[in-house]
């Protein structure tokens, strides 16, 4: 099994996930579950066959790591959908999985990219996958927030209901972010000797984390004041962008140990 056969597994899996997403949106849960689960099985078959042919878990290169993103995002999306029945959840997770599938199909040369020793850790994939998932959830929350900002003619009830979607996204996102950040801390202890060294990336991770905490606390203090809360959500997402990639353009970046070029 090689990357040449990837497309024959990835495309059917993606199609099945998209059918599941459509069924989830149309509130046909049985179809959503069946289609998504079969999609996951097809995708995991490729990972398994790849694993057997490589004689090691496919976790070494960036391309292989992206394989797991797609896989886990589909699984986590399904779990979150099963737990809360958000109709948008499967669309969202399928889209994320699809992005990573496309990157793997379009940029095959990265499959050979080597991983420096510090990144070769069992913490690597979960840390990055969980963060990617939380970034995605916050992205969706921001879309909802901007929608609420622009749409002036919503009824008060509609407005509140949409706001709850934003709350849920941020709340789940923050849970993932907390877990991702703490896994990063435990990994840092194993790799660099300390769990929190105030490296610029860590500092920005803390800033973003606090910013989303402000959102959740503000929502509880003033549930009726939507506008300031929406602004907080948008500002928090801007801070997240600096943490994610904007940090490379800051004067503090050159002291960071998190300077892997992980395109």
């Amino acid at each position: 099994m090689t990357w040449n056969e990837y497309i024959f597994f990835a495309m059917p899996a993606a199609a099945l996930w998209l059918i599941g997403a459509w069924a989830g949106w149309k509130q046909k849960p049985l179809w959503a579950y069946v289609s998504t689960v079969i999609g996951i099985l097809v995708f995991s078959a490729f990972i398994l066959l790849m694993w057997i042919s490589l004689e090691r878990p496919p976790l070494r290169t960036m391309g292989e790591t992206r394989l797991w993103y797609s896989f886990f995002i589909a699984i986590v999306g399904l779990l979150v959908y099963a737990r809360w029945h958000y109709r948008w959840m499967l669309s969202f997770s399928s889209l994320m999985a699809l992005i990573f599938i496309c990157v793997n199909l379009l940029k095959p040369e990265i499959h050979n990219k080597t991983l420096m020793p510090v990144l070769q850790s069992p913490w690597f994939s979960p840390h990055v996958i969980v963060y990617m998932f939380c970034y995605a959830l916050f992205g969706a929350a921001t879309v909802v927030a901007i929608y609420l900002m622009i749409k002036k003619h919503l009824s008060s009830l509609q407005r509140q209901k949409t706001m709850y979607t934003c709350d849920n996204l941020i709340s789940v996102g923050l849970s993932f972010m907390t877990i991702g950040m703490l896994m990063g801390a435990l990994w840092a202890k194993e790799a660099w000797g300390h769990y929190w060294a105030w490296d610029p990336k860590e500092t920005w991770a803390a800033i973003t984390w606090f910013a989303y905490l402000v959102y959740l606390h503000f929502r509880r203090l003033r549930p009726a004041h939507l506008k300031p809360a929406l602004w907080i959500a948008i500002i928090a997402f801007l801070l997240l962008q600096i943490c994610w990639w904007g940090i490379n353009f800051l004067p503090s970046a050159h002291t960071s140990v998190h300077t892997y070029n992980m395109s």
């Binding site: 709350d167 849920n168 907390t178 877990i179 000797g193 500092t203 606090f210 929502r219 509880r220």
Partner: protein, 407 residues
């Protein structure tokens, strides 16, 4: 303003005043020296902090400020102030040396930064005590998140002065007892370490096409040489590896350089490459501390070059002997530290100039007696985050009755 109940505004004024006090302290007593917090002062500080928090809680009915501390109206401005000071830290390059920017380039020793975090911790402590006093099972996620963060923050801060971090360079000639800290102070350790074997595993060699003038790769593309007959396509040219020597040394011939198998310190990796250009073939090597790199000139503008080999892993096999004479054999590599007598030993570095032929290994040794408590806090937060995911819909239920105070 200042009419009860206090709102966000009052919280921001308190936060700003605290930063002002911090600036005065910074100007008068200078930056904070964390070393004074070393054992037993940190234990005393912990006891004082706990007592103070309990006292503040008990006088909440008498003193309005104390009552205010456990409200959302106090927590949000405190979080915002924390973001503000952390934001400055995230933008300004930090230094370990003397500050040149009035202290903001050494944020961890900057009074306004530290006071802002202390305020956040005080608020966190009040909120935790308040919930603890009238604890209900449904408070478990809340307690895990808030108490976990409180424990992790307090123990990490107080424990930082007790943390020892030293480096040790080991050789196979003799065991080493001493290590140096970042100020070049020498420390005797309760055990010795001797290097038995140091090995570097490298990724397969990679060939790129480079500019003859700058020496830089022309594109991001490269060929990985993973077997004797690797083929590849770069810069509209086909390449085929004719011969691959993992360990080799150059030998001058009458007209050219030839490589032959040779496995001693300083050996290079060399490949003989045929190209689709007529008559252009020859050796390419990455070079070592002993021999220069060899490139294959393709035309007047570009050459075929082997990139420096990237380490896949580096491993020290060591013998650790404690003062009582107990010998242990251990393997230390990046991401896989070894724990001995409360010290965690990390693979840090090697002689980079010699690469895979390095004869020394650099280890980092870290002792952090407070680590276990920080981990308890972190563990509580992880479980708290998981329970928060599971009980997510509660947010909606909380929001509907438009509750205001009392987190």
């Amino acid at each position: 303003m200042w009419t009860k109940p206090w709102k966000l505004r009052e919280g921001f004024v308190i936060g700003l005043s605290l930063a002002g006090v911090g600036l005065v302290l910074q100007a008068s007593v200078g930056p904070i020296d964390w070393n004074w917090l070393a054992h037993p002062i940190n234990i005393i500080t912990l006891v004082v902090f706990c007592l103070l928090s309990v006292i503040v809680y008990f006088f909440r009915q008498q003193v309005y400020l104390f009552r205010y501390l456990s409200t959302y109206s106090a927590a949000i401005p405190s979080l915002c102030c924390t973001i503000a000071v952390t934001l400055i830290m995230g933008c300004i390059p930090q230094t370990q040396n003397e500050s040149r920017l009035w202290g903001i380039d050494r944020m961890l020793c900057f009074w306004p930064f530290v006071l802002t975090y202390i305020m956040l911790t005080l608020i966190l402590a009040q909120v935790v005590i308040k919930r603890l006093v009238r604890f209900h099972l449904s408070d478990i996620p809340f307690m895990l998140n808030h108490a976990g963060l409180l424990i992790a923050m307090v123990c990490a801060t107080l424990g930082s002065a007790d943390m020892q971090r030293v480096r040790m360079t080991i050789l196979d000639a003799y065991p080493e007892w001493r290590a140096v800290d970042e100020d070049n102070g020498i420390h005797d350790l309760p055990f010795s370490i001797r290097l038995k074997k140091f090995t570097i595993e490298e990724y397969p060699p990679q060939l790129v096409v480079t500019d003859n003038e700058t020496g830089r790769p022309m594109t991001d593309e490269f060929i990985v040489i993973d077997s004797n007959s690797s083929v590849g396509h770069l810069n509209n040219l086909d390449f085929m590896v004719d011969q691959y020597l993992e360990y080799a040394s150059p030998r001058l011939t009458e007209t050219d350089v030839d490589y032959h198998s040779w496995k001693l310190s300083g050996a290079v990796t060399a490949v003989r490459v045929k190209t689709s250009l007529d008559g252009i073939e020859g050796w390419v090597s990455s070079g070592s501390y002993l021999f220069p790199a060899q490139t294959l000139k393709l035309n007047g503008e570009v050459s075929l070059t082997m990139l420096p080999r990237e380490p896949k892993s580096y491993v020290s096999e060591v013998e650790i002997t404690t003062r009582s004479g107990k010998d242990t054999l251990a393997t230390i590599e990046v991401n896989k530290p070894v724990t001995v007598d409360g010290w965690k030993i990390y693979q840090l570095d090697y002689d980079q100039s010699k690469g895979r032929w390095s004869e020394v290994s650099v280890l980092e040794l870290v002792r952090d007696p407070w680590l276990i408590f920080v981990y308890i806090g972190i563990g509580m937060m992880v479980v708290g985050a998981l329970t928060m995911m599971m009980t997510n819909n509660r947010i909606n239920r909380h929001l509907q009755p438009l509750k205001r105070e009392a987190p």
